[in-house]
């Protein structure tokens, strides 16, 4: 494991405020999008749990489908965010 010497602190990053602001904007839009989907899930479970028993596709109920979708959408949004912010960050 040569080269794994972690004793030296890496120099502080010099940031580009424009890129930081752009990334923050992308992040906020995606956060709000996901918040809406997550809020819908929590609201449905809390107020209309009976609806979660409906079986819209593949023999699976809404509770399972919505829950799995929330996990998959989070992973996809993370990839999209990473792609949007690619190659233009400063070091």
């Amino acid at each position: 494991m040569a080269g794994l010497d972690h004793a030296i602190e890496h120099p502080k990053e010099v940031e580009d405020p424009l890129i930081a602001a752009r990334n923050a904007r992308y992040g906020m839009v995606m956060f709000l999008f996901y918040l809406a989907i997550y809020g819908g899930f929590v609201g449905l479970n809390a107020c209309r749990p009976d609806l979660m028993e409906a079986t819209p596709a593949w023999g699976l109920n809404l509770a399972v489908l919505y829950g799995l979708a929330l996990i998959v959408i989070a992973m996809l949004l993370a990839l999209v965010y990473c792609w949007l912010c690619r190659g233009r960050s400063t070091t």
Binding site: E9, N45, A46, E53, L68, L70, Y81
Partner: protein, 585 residues
């Protein structure tokens, strides 16, 4: 249930612990500076850091607690998986890059980057300590649960063993060894959970209609401590009896008795159309003699795969408004809590720049997301495999593995044990960083040389480790997942309002931040301590007594205390804006 340790389990366990400690001693020689000890010198590769995020985050609560809750109650456990993962959206999109930009060692650094306030450092340091200790409890409880079947030692010995190993890991090389332990653990956990899921799907589903599988079970504990199972003295020798492992299907769709191998969607769809035997638990105490009776409850798969089967969420199906608020409160805390956990936040300082912080979060989300999908199959697999220990929901996943053979059980248990080690190590690094960097250096203004900071960090790690051991023994009967819900509530209430407002509201003042942390911390702690759940599960009252004594209408504090934190910050900042020292970015 009585579990007998196997030679294989002891060997595999020994190998895992030896590798973990070997790594720590290897890195100890290379870690001399405070930066190296507390933040790995900011030189961890983003991919390693991303998987280490998963290793840090996928704690005993995720692996043992969630799988156990799904195995005992169905879909309700999966709600935790969904909430835990959703929290990473906040971490990636809102917190990751600014936190890396503003901080150095601890969460307090970021909050204080523009103010240089001792008040903020004190509040953030105390908050980090309290949240870390709260989060340590379920990890130690999980460790105690694992040690019983793995090595045959009692719960207390398991907790002490974890405490000693973890303190050795942290006290030797700090964040460097912790990172690599978490990387290895995160990789192995996802890999072997995947293998176990494939085996569950390949085995398919089977009906067990035998009389023995459907018979109720009782455990009587006499006032002198002697125990009887179904009227026979408890034990594993001749003339003695032990509780029977449970978990089976009573009906499959179309009158089938066995399905053969199934695909993932097919597995869930078949379960939804089946009938599953869940187990209800009833406890009575008469003249000091405690009787616990477990009765089979055949339940349609459609009900098992919808919310509202567990004691925590059953009010959702009864239209109780307090249950709804409790549920929303918990899901809010899980959503907001991840980006507020000190041991997660400090991992942003172990990479070199904001791009690496972002990339490592994406890797973390991918790894964690895959694992949480697998928890649904692991939990449901345990529910239908006839391996559940009625007395310990935390053991569902390891005992499921035991159903596939002793070797897999040994490996899964050792990984689960390493899971605890990884998370506890991260928490202790976070706590010791708060003690040394925030409280000793910044608040008390002790002039410490670099090597003295490292030494003080190691001493703090030992002290926090001892506290964790004591709490792990005291809370031994509680589900790890449930306990983590509390830690998330406290973290989200204390830390998130300050972090978010600092980044997005330029009228935030240092007084506002300090007040918000203290109000969020103490209001959430107070709410938890006065809730019905705590009266019942911690203070030992019956459910009816706890409901009567509770001073708050529902048990999860987040719905009230997170907005309270934001409100406090806004009000105090507006009141002190004339004294504001600087404008934040």
């Amino acid at each position: 249930m009585i579990h007998h340790p196997s030679f294989m389990s002891v060997i595999v366990f020994g190998i895992f612990v030896a590798i973990t400690l070997g790594l720590s001693f290897y890195f100890a020689a290379k870690t001399k500076s405070a930066s190296g000890y507390f933040a790995a010198g900011g030189q961890i590769h983003w991919f390693v850091n991303g998987v280490a995020f998963a290793g840090d985050y996928l704690s005993a609560a995720s692996f043992l607690g969630i799988c156990g809750t799904i195995a005992f109650f169905g879909y309700d456990g999966f709600l935790y998986s969904i909430g835990f993962l959703a929290g990473w959206v906040v971490a990636l999109f809102v917190v990751a890059e600014p936190l890396k930009r503003l901080g150095k060692y601890t969460f307090a650094d970021a909050l204080n980057s523009q103010f240089q306030s001792r008040g903020i450092t004190l509040a953030a340091g105390i908050s980090t300590l309290v949240v870390s200790v709260f989060y340590l409890i379920p990890q130690m409880v999980g460790a105690g649960s694992l040690i019983k079947p793995l090595l045959g030692f009692p719960h207390e010995v398991g907790v002490v063993m974890v405490g000693i190993v973890v303190v050795l890991i942290v006290a030797t090389a700090g964040m460097v060894s912790t990172t690599y332990v978490q990387f290895i653990k995160g990789s192995l956990l996802v890999l072997f959970s995947g293998i176990l899921t494939v085996m569950i799907l390949n085995r398919g589903l089977k009906v067990d209609s035998s009389e023995a599988a459907n018979a109720p079970q009782t455990l009587v504990v006499k006032s002198d401590g002697t125990r009887f199972v179904n009227g026979t003295p408890h034990g594993s020798s001749a003339g003695q009896a032990d509780l029977r492992p449970v978990g089976h299907l009573s009906k499959l769709p179309n009158g089938k008795t066995e399905t053969g191998p199934l695909g993932p969607i097919e597995y869930l769809a078949t379960l939804q159309q089946s009938e599953i035997v869940l187990w209800s638990k009833k406890e009575t105490v008469v003249d000091g003699e405690k009787t616990t009776t477990w009765s089979p409850q055949p339940t349609s798969g459609a009900k098992v795969l919808r919310p509202g089967n567990s004691p925590l969420f059953k009010g959702l199906q009864k239209d109780q408004w307090t249950a709804r608020l409790d549920f929303v409160s918990l899901m809010l805390a899980l959503f907001c809590g991840t980006a507020s956990l000190p041991h997660i936040l400090i991992r942003y300082y172990t990479v070199k720049n904001q791009a690496a912080a972002r990339l490592s979060t994406v890797v973390g989300i991918g790894t964690i997301g895959v694992f949480y999908v697998l928890t649904l199959f692991l939990g449901l697999g345990a529910m239908t495999s006839g391996t559940l220990d009625l007395t310990d929901s935390n053991m569902a996943a390891p005992l499921l593995a035991k159903g596939f053979g002793e070797t897999l059980f040994a490996v899964i248990s050792a990984i689960a044990f390493t899971t605890v080690l990884g998370t506890v190590s991260g928490l202790i690094v976070a706590a010791s960083g708060a003690v040394v960097h925030d409280l000793m250096s910044s608040v008390l203004r002790l002039e410490l040389a670099d090597h003295e900071k490292v030494k003080a960090g190691k001493i703090a790690a030992v002290v926090v480790g001892v506290i964790a051991i004591v709490l792990g023994i005291l809370f031994k009967d509680m589900n790890a997942g449930f306990l983590v819900g509390w830690a998330f509530s406290v973290a989200a209430s204390a830390n998130l309002p300050s972090l978010v407002m600092l980044l997005f509201w330029d009228r935030t003042t240092k007084q506002g931040i300090t007040a918000a942390i203290f109000v969020g911390l103490f209001s959430s702690l107070g709410w938890i301590l006065l809730s019905a759940d705590t009266f019942q599960k911690v203070y030992g009252y019956t459910a009816d007594q706890a409901a009567a004594l509770a001073c708050v209408p529902f048990s999860q504090p987040g719905l009230v205390t997170i907005p309270l934190g934001f409100l406090t910050l806004i009000v105090v900042s507006l009141m002190t804006s004339g004294r504001k020292t600087t404008v934040v970015a």
